[in-house]
């Protein structure tokens, strides 16, 4: 029996596409492999607990110390404050776009959100440096305007598109029947939004928040430029800090390849990778659960 050439061709294309389709998984694996390859040798010099809970980061002194706890704290503090600002604002925008805005206003706000999402982070960092920092410095009478609050402000702004657009999807996919039932019981629009629509969209909103927070933790240029760069525990809202990402970016260029310092920076990369990986898995789980609910 003679098999037509184009059928063989079709079969080969399918196999080829399957192999190329696996590339994302391969890349993810390679990222993990190379981070661990370059990061794990640190453990020959420093124990895990000294690394994570060590209070001093002096990588280049004669008696180098590689404690990243101040950097972790800085990342957590910046992320927390940025989220406190971005989450309520983003949900308000999402509610406005999904439930209140007229079609024309929606057509204005949507592109605005997309534009914010597309602004390069180095530009936002630059704006934080040259505009927000001097303002904060003179308004609050600070030593420097490059500090935790400034970084959180800029990062909060950057997180808005992620959180708002995913929340908006979740809110607009709430079935009309739920809202109608609420109206039928005598609730007005505001009560319906607060007690019916938003709670029904909650798992989608959580997905949005987790993805937004994960972006904030991983953002580099903004914190590198505006967080101040002091590797100390954050003392106040206005103290200069040095989050994990900015520490890698600031030091990698001057670090000799293969030194303990080099391995320590990759170990910080492992930490970041694991944190964002966990966040993404949770977001993925939540969004699948939420899709299931509507079917």
């Amino acid at each position: 029996m003679k098999v037509h050439k184009s059928i063989v061709y079709d079969y080969l294309v399918e196999k080829l596409f399957f192999i190329i389709g696996l590339s994302c998984l391969v890349i993810l694996f390679l990222i993990m492999f190379f981070l661990f390859k370059e990061g794990l040798p640190l453990l020959n010099k420093v124990s895990i607990s000294d690394f994570i809970f060590g209070m001093e980061w002096y990588p280049t002194s004669d008696n180098p110390r590689f404690g990243v706890f101040p950097l972790i704290s800085a990342s957590v503090a910046v992320t927390l404050i940025a989220s406190l600002m971005a989450v309520p604002l983003s949900i308000a925008i999402a509610v406005y776009m999904a439930e209140l805005a007229s079609p024309i206003t929606r057509e204005i706000i949507k592109p605005v959100i997309e534009i914010i999402a597309s602004i390069p982070s180095v530009v936002i960092g630059f704006f934080g440096m040259v505009v927000v920092a001097p303002f904060l410095q003179s308004y609050f009478d600070l030593d420097t305007g490059l500090n935790l609050f400034n970084a959180a402000l800029m990062l909060g702004f950057m997180a808005i598109p992620t959180i708002a657009s995913i929340s908006e999807d979740a809110i607009s996919s709430v079935p009309v029947s739920l809202k109608e039932a609420s109206y039928a019981l005598g609730a007005n629009r505001c009560q319906t939004i607060i007690f019916v629509t938003v709670p029904a969209a909650l798992s989608g909103i959580w997905t949005a928040i987790i993805l937004g927070v994960s972006r904030v933790i991983g953002e580099t240029m903004v914190v590198l430029m505006v967080a101040g760069g002091a590797a100390m525990m954050p003392g106040s809202l206005f103290s200069p800090v040095r989050p994990l990402t900015s520490n890698i970016a600031a030091e990698m260029a001057e670090t000799p390849v293969g030194s303990t310092h080099y391995h320590a920076l990759f170990a910080i990369g492992i930490l970041l990778f694991i944190i964002t990986f966990v966040f993404n898995i949770i977001a993925d789980y939540l969004s699948n659960k939420y899709k299931f609910k509507h079917n």
Binding site: I31, F34, A92, E114, P120, I124, F127, V130, G218, I248
Partner: protein
């Protein structure tokens, strides 16, 4: 009782509306401020000349060229791989578990912090494969980073091609590959182009991934091969604004470079979004 609820509703809606408009004002203020401050730096020379006087004057031509080269290089990597991945997931894949795992991989890749991509590029491309700090290493790093964007947009575009098109083609005796190549891809083209534009915009604007893989503070010549290091717009802004002794003196150059970068990224993104918008309207 009824009136109280109405007043609460009125206040809540006004607050929500104000908060939503706040963000538009902030965006306009930010872009407006940068454009106002940097407008004077823009001139023909700014686009066409090399930096002069230890970066204190002259133009940013090499940074523009470098950014274009990096965009081009990353596109060569990400466009074919991204489109093929999306086609596989949408047109060929039958096993839902495989699809789920690949999707999980794509989502996680999209969530990897940009500086971690930089570390990855440094260890794999720059050191292990010995490409050095080069256009090649930077393009590969950026290509990997922008892969999820192309995959997502292409998948969305493929979903908009009606199933009946495929059935009609298959019923005429075409193979699946012929159907994809002649029917599905041409119909999904605007959506795929959206993904291409968005990913180019992303590559142009990223700084952290190229810091250790491609970017140079200053390159006296234009790059001669893929193994040369290059200047790039985002890195140029970062370096001028944070390093050296002339931070104040070069302010106008920083603003000017920021305007060029914003214009480039916005141009790519709006082209992509307009294509997507038109595609969606056509389907309605």
């Amino acid at each position: 009782m009824k009136r109280k609820a109405d007043i609460i509703q009125l206040i809540t809606f006004v607050v929500i509306k104000l908060l939503s408009f706040l963000i538009i004002f902030f965006l306009i203020f930010m872009l407006g401020f940068i454009v106002k401050s940097g407008f004077s730096a823009l001139s023909m020379d700014f686009f066409t000349k090399m930096p002069e006087n230890q970066m204190r004057g002259g133009g940013i031509m090499p940074a523009i060229a470098g950014t274009f080269l990096l965009m081009l290089g990353s596109a060569v990597v990400s466009i074919p791989v991204g489109i093929i991945t999306a086609v596989y997931l949408n047109e060929y894949a039958k096993n839902p578990r495989v699809v789920k795992i690949i999707r999980l991989g794509i989502n996680n890749l999209a969530g990897v912090p940009s500086v971690v991509f930089g570390l990855f590029g440094l260890s794999l491309f720059v050191i292990f494969l010995d490409f050095g700090t080069s256009i090649l290493a930077g393009s590969l790093t950026l290509g990997v980073l922008s892969l999820p964007i192309i995959i997502r947009s292409t998948e969305e575009a493929l979903l908009t091609v009606p199933g009946t098109y495929r059935e009609a083609s298959l019923s005429l005796g075409a193979t699946r590959w012929q159907t994809i190549y002649r029917i599905v891809l041409p119909n999904a083209l605007p959506g795929i182009l959206t993904g291409v534009m968005l990913s180019l915009g992303r590559s142009a604007g990223e700084t952290a991934p190229i810091m250790f893989t491609a970017a140079a503070f200053f390159a006296p010549d234009l790059p001669r091969s893929v193994y040369s290091e290059v200047m790039a717009l985002p890195y140029h802004i970062y370096v001028l604004a944070t390093a050296g002794l002339h931070i104040q003196e070069t302010r106008h150059l920083q603003y000017g470079t920021a305007i060029v970068l914003i214009l480039l990224v916005l141009l790519l993104n709006t082209t992509g979004l307009v294509l997507r918008y038109r595609l969606r309207r056509r389907l309605r």
